[in-house]
Structure formats: C-alpha cells, structure tokens
C-alpha cells in the first residue's frame, strides 16, 4: 500500500512539474528592463491643473563607469530626470513610460520631494499613491522643496552621483545637528490621520555658490491638516525635537561664564517626557527633559573645568534649550499647528476630557501652557582639561 502511494506521489510530482512548465507563468521582469527610480519630485505644472512628476532614473552604465575607471568626468551624469504630467500622480507615472519605454521600478525610491506650491495647496491628494502602490516603501522620506522639486532633483552633488541618494543621506544623518528631522511617508500619514496633530516635513533647497549647486536641508515645513502654513527655523526645529525626545546630537552654543566668548557643547543624549495636565479647562503640558552633553569647544581662555563653571554652564545650557523649546512653541501657537502632538497626548491620557476638547482644539491650542523642567548634565571635557591659552598666570 505505502509503496503504491510512493509511486503515486512521485508520479504526482512529475505531473505537477509538467503543469508548471505548461503554465509557464511569469510575472517577472528582467533587471535590464527596469528603470530604477531612486527619487521622485512632485510639482505643479506651470500652466494647468496638472502636476509635473520628476522621476530620477539611474543610468547604471554611468554609475559603473566612473567607479571602474576612476576619473573620466565627461558629461556623464549618472541619473536621468524624466518628466511626466498628469492629473494624478499615477497618471503622471504612467505618462513617463512614453519616454522610458519601460515601466518605472519604484521599489528603490528613497525620497519624495514635493514642490512648495503643491504643499501650500494641500498634499493629501498626492501622497495617496505613494502609500498605496505596492512597490513603494512606507519608509520613503518625504521632503518639501523650498521652491520647486525639479530644481533640487537637477542639482548634481559632488560626492554622491545621484541627488536623491545625497538627499537621503543628508536626511538620515539629521542627528549631527538635530536641526531638521527625518519624516517618512508613514509618519506623515500618521500625523495627517490624527486630525489634531500638524504634520511636519523637512525642507530642502539648493544653494548656488559659484558654478556649483549644492543641496541643503534645513528647517521644517509645518502643515495644518495637509496645507503648508509656515516653517520652523533650525533652532525651532530643535526645540520641537527636544520635546519629542528625538534630539540625537547637536551643537549647543552658550556664552561663557565670564561673557567674553562662547562655549560649544555637544549634546550626547536627550530624553523627554511630556505629562499633560487638564485642570478645569486649562491645559498645562509638563515637559521633562534629561540629557547629557560634553564640552567640545571654548573660545575663551578661562578655566572651565571647575565645579562652579560647570554649574553656571549647566544653567546657561538649560536656558538655551528652554529658549529653543519656547521658540518652537511660540511658533506653533502662532501658526496654530499642534506640531508636538499635544492633542494626541491628552487623548491618550485623558480620554474623557479629550472628547469635549476635541472639537474646539483649534481654539484651545493657543491657550496651552508649557512647563519645562530641563536637566542637562555636562559629562566630560573631551581631550583637554584646560584651554589652549598662553597666559595661564593671568588668572
């Protein structure tokens, strides 16, 4: 019996193999036929309702060439910006196939840059495609161009061969200064869905110096619902990040204890905790920040490695952070955009009270008070104990 089954099954296997071959199905695409898109830009088309989609396609041959044979600058750009127009993003994407001949392969799309005019008008209708299409990554980074996305895509960076890769790298390393923040599609959608929280996205621009265009990222665009309403400066952004606990590192500049120069600290670590308090209609947010920093640079000759100096500097540091936070807070009140997500925090902690607050959140938000409790410890002075100064005896 079992033997019979064995024979039967082996025949079965053969039959199914035949079946596979008969079906000869294929949903695959050869790698040669791919137009690998690594970045996309969305702009408003000049003269109509249409949008202008820029897709940055990698030219593999060029990529290899320069890495293989070293120099050979030539005109060889390693990327090709293809444009397409359409009433919706998807239409524009398919429009592009008229130029490429192949369908765009967007699985490796790392960034989406939205033009400013589009952001002012509202992004909701444009980001749907970027979340829905199965090839798209929800981790795609979203940025807002200071002017037009197209210009950013065209800038040719020096080290990286591809502008989009360059931008990705820039955004991913926001931690060096914490002057902007990485926002991906999913985060953006999450903020947008929340209703009360204001989405933010980093701003990208180009700086023209001499004949070279450089891409830079600084500050954040603030949205109210899906419309861009303003922008945070670099310090304001860091103020925001302090509250959210997303500061990774950065330079904190204060004036030295004797007011003669500046001392720069490197932020080593920062944690935050926000406790909302709702008391008879009045909302107070208690922000607690704990952090560590190290003395990284000083411009004065005084000896800072003393207990007194440390105390003074810690106070100054705290003050500097508070200023950053308050700047961000004031800006958000001014824009009436809940960039911190205070509303969410209240909802999570005080669901019952939230129900009454929810509908008039716009009116309530400017009345919120912020209470900060900041404690940043200076941990080390790096390699030097005393400053590099000639006159030690002066002291």
């Amino acid at each position: 019996m079992t033997k019979k089954i064995n024979i039967l099954t082996s025949k079965l296997v053969i039959c199914f193999l035949m079946l596979f071959i008969l079906l000869g199905c294929s949903g695959g695409r050869e790698i040669n036929d791919l137009e690998i898109v690594i970045g996309m830009g969305v702009d408003k088309d000049e003269n109509s309702e249409n949008i202008l989609l820029t897709a940055q396609v990698v030219k593999e041959g060029e990529m290899e060439k320069s890495s293989g044979s070293g120099g050979g600058e030539g005109d060889g750009k390693a990327f090709w910006n293809v444009f397409g127009t359409g009433k919706s993003v998807f239409e524009a994407v398919r429009q592009i196939t008229h130029k490429t001949g192949n369908r765009l392969f967007v699985s490796h799309n790392h960034v989406v840059i939205c033009g400013k005019d589009l952001a002012l008008e509202g992004l909701q209708k444009y980001i749907d495609f970027f979340l829905r299409a199965h090839e798209m990554r929800p981790t795609t980074i979203i940025l807002i161009a200071e002017d037009r996305a197209l210009d950013v895509m065209n800038a040719k960076p020096e080290t990286e061969k591809l502008p989009a890769m360059n931008i990705t790298k820039l955004v991913k390393t926001y931690g060096f200064t914490s002057h902007f923040y990485k926002v991906n599609m999913k985060d953006f959608a999450s903020c947008l869905m929340c209703g009360t929280r204001a989405p933010i996205a980093p701003l990208v621009g180009i700086s023209q110096d001499k004949d070279n265009k450089d891409i830079y990222v600084s500050g954040m665009a603030v949205f109210n619902n899906d419309k861009m309403v303003g922008r945070l400066t670099e310090d304001e952004t860091r103020g925001l990040l302090w509250v959210l606990g997303k500061v990774e590192s950065g330079v904190l500049l204060i004036s030295s204890p004797n007011k003669q120069g500046k001392v720069a600290f490197e932020i080593l670590e920062a944690k935050s905790k926000v406790i909302p308090e709702v008391k008879d209609g009045k909302i107070v947010m208690h922000v607690k920040i704990k952090g560590k920093s190290s003395l990284s640079e000083q411009t004065t000759a005084e000896d800072l490695a003393t207990i007194e100096a440390f105390e003074k500097m810690q106070k100054a540091q705290t003050e500097a952070i508070r200023q950053e936070i308050m700047a961000a807070f004031d800006k958000s009140k001014e824009l009436n955009a809940d960039i911190f997500g205070f509303g969410e925090m209240i909802r999570k902690k005080h669901i019952n009270k939230w129900k009454s607050l929810k509908d008039k959140w716009d009116e309530i938000y400017p009345t919120i008070e912020l209470n900060t409790d900041i404690e940043v410890k200076i941990q080390k002075t790096d390699l030097l104990k005393k400053p590099v100064s000639p006159g030690k005896e002066e002291k």
């Binding site: 099954t9 079906l23 959608a189 869905m193």
Partner: protein
C-alpha cells in the same frame, strides 16, 4: 475502520495546534479594522472565551476515541441528522479552506507578486497542499514543529527588528472603542483562529494516548495565541493610528523594517514565512476536509478524493469573493455568523447528548 493509518503523538498535537493558531497571524487583520489599538485585548478575550469550547472538543475526542467528527455526528445525532450536520461541517471546512487559500493568493496578488496571475498562484499553492495531504497526517504532524519554529522566529524577529520604531503610547487610551466593536472583534477572533480548531476533531481521534491531550491542547493554544499577541502588539505599536487604513497591517508593519540600508524591504521574506504558515494551516484543513468527505461516503481510503477536491477548492477560492474588500466585509459579517452553531453549539450539545445517552460504549463497536 479509520481512514488514516498513521498515529500521532501528544507532542505533535501541541505543535499542530500551535502552528494552526499561529498561522492566523495575517488574519488578525480582519479584526484590526474594527478594534484598532485594542486588538491585543480582543485576542486575549477571544482565547479566554474559546478555551471552554475547545476543551469541549477535546472532551468529545476523548470520549469518542478513535473516531472522527463525522463518525461522532453519526453516533450522536443518528444516521440522518448526523449526516446533515456532517454536510454542514464539510461546507464549513470547504469554505474555510478556500478562504485560506485565497488569503495566500491575495497576499501575493496585492503585495508580493502582483504581476503573476492570481489563479496560477492558487494552483501552485493548492497543489503543494494536495501533496502534503497525499503524504498523510503523520508526515504533517512530524514536521509540525518546524513550522512552529519558523513562525516563532519570524514573529519574534520582526518584533525585534521593529523595536526602535515602536511607540507604546499607541496603546493608550486603553478603553476607547464602543463595546459593540469589541464584541464584534472578539467574535471574529473566536471564529477565525480558535473556532477553526474544530477541524482538529478530524485528527484528534488518531492520537495514540489520550492522557495529556487537554494539557497539550492548552499549551498549544497559549503558544499560538502568544504569537498572535506579539504580532498584534507589533502592529499597533509600530503603525499607531494608521493601523486601520492598510489592507494588511501585519504586512505593512514588516515593510517598515529598515536596519542599515541592507535589511530593508523584508516584506518578501516575511511573506514567505507567512506562506509557509498558511500552507500548514491549509494542509490541516485540507486533510480534515478530505477525510470528512471520504468518511461521509464511507470510503476506505481518502487518496482518490484529494485531487478532485483540490480542483474544486481552487475554483471556489478564485471565485468566492470578487475582491479583498468583499472578502473582508463578508468575513466580518456572515462569514463568522454562519459558523457559530458549528463551533459553539453543536460540540457542547453532542457532548451533552453523549453524556445523557452514555454513548461511546454503545457505539464503540461500530465506530472502531
């Protein structure tokens, strides 16, 4: 005369049940839309409510040792009514199996390989299931622990890989949704992974020793549920309030994995792991279905029925729902309501009748 000649041991039962429950990781998505961030509660509540019912299945299997569901129905409800109920069960098994096959199809058609024709995926998958059923229950039971290990590794590793993207405040506020939604969610939970264990009544009769059955069933359920729980927690913590908008939150959360620049887009690997798990579940269901049908016809061997039933299942899976939207809507509604008597009424009732009529003794000679 029992159709299956192989015997399975208790430990294998544990793994079979674990794997069975675990493989519903993708299916908690039906619940997520309704219960959002409270899904984890729903899973636990579902388990708590399901345990007495599942124990009643076990009690039934112990009482009628060596018999399967169809035989039990015949014994308890008599020839005619028993047959009617058995047909009901067979319909249920057929539908459940086709839904699970469809789930794989949808998984691939929506996320992984949208360019490959849908029906071909279904055929591939069902053919492999048929091969597993050909090999018999014993082989399936013997490899069950490998499936469980794969499942646990995948679920735990995705959890760990996503841990830095998790925001546990997403679980707050603890109680927000109206009760009816929670109730609905619990019902879905009860039906989809837990109630479907009714299929084990086709298998439990072949366990060589009945002593530790209760213990092993419970442990199996707990491990399986723990996996579901980890997945639910992962989804909520990672996706937050967007959880309800995705076609498949479980899948979407794994798409967010981004470690370095290399460990990205892990979704395909996760998809594969899910496929393996669903394959396991489908094979069990398919086995139960084939044995049930051949028992109903009173056959000596179930092997001739495997391929025709596979053919039927493929077509049902391909045509039963027009789209995932249909699938979700009907599953959340009629899909879980029609099976209520099968899962929560008939087994306890049979147990009761069997107790009153002191059945297994009278019927054993016929059953074995």
């Amino acid at each position: 005369m029992s159709i299956e000649k192989g015997k399975i041991c208790n430990l294998q039962l544990l793994f079979l049940i674990t794997g069975f429950v675990q493989s519903s990781v993708l299916l908690i998505d039906f619940t997520v839309v309704i219960t959002e961030h409270q899904t984890w509660m729903v899973i636990l509540a579902g388990l708590a409510i399901a345990i007495p019912f599942i124990l009643s299945y076990v009690a039934l299997a112990k009482r009628f040792h060596g018999m399967n569901l169809i035989q039990i129905n015949d014994a308890v409800f008599g020839r005619f009514l028993g047959k009617v109920i058995s047909v009901y069960y067979i319909f249920f098994l057929m539908m459940t199996l086709s839904f699970n096959i469809l789930d794989v199809g949808e998984l691939y058609a929506t996320f992984l390989m949208p360019d490959t024709p849908f029906i071909i995926l279904l055929i591939f998958f069902t053919a492999t299931c048929a091969y597993a059923v050909y090999k018999g229950l014993e082989v399936l039971a013997r490899v069950s622990h490998l499936f469980v290990v794969v499942g646990v590794i995948v679920i735990v590793s995705t959890f760990l890989l996503l841990i830095d993207q998790m925001d546990f405040s997403n679980f707050l506020p603890l109680f927000e949704l109206p009760f009816i939604r929670i109730f609905h969610g619990i019902h879905i939970m009860l039906s989809i992974p837990f109630g479907e264990t009714i299929a084990f009544l086709m298998i439990m009769g072949y366990i060589n020793k009945t002593e530790h059955m209760v213990k092993n069933t419970l442990i199996g359920l707990f491990i399986g549920t723990a996996s579901l729980l980890i997945a639910a927690v992962r989804n909520t913590a990672v996706l937050g309030n967007t959880e309800a908008i995705w076609t498949s939150p479980s899948f979407q959360s794994t798409r967010l994995i981004d470690i370095g620049t290399v460990l990205t887009r892990m979704d395909f690997l996760i998809g594969i792991a899910q496929t393996i798990l669903i394959f396991f579940k489908c094979s069990i269901l398919f086995y139960a279905l084939v044995v049930a049908v051949s028992q109903l016809f009173g056959l000596k061997s179930y092997l001739p029925l495997v391929l025709p039933l596979a053919g039927i299942e493929v077509i049902i899976a391909a045509t039963v729902f027009q789209s995932p939207v249909d699938h979700a809507a009907i599953t959340q509604d009629a899909g879980i309501i029609y099976s209520v008597p099968l899962m929560f009424v008939i087994p306890p009732l049979s147990l009761l009748i069997a107790k009153i009529r002191a059945l297994p003794k009278a019927e054993r000679g016929k059953g074995v």
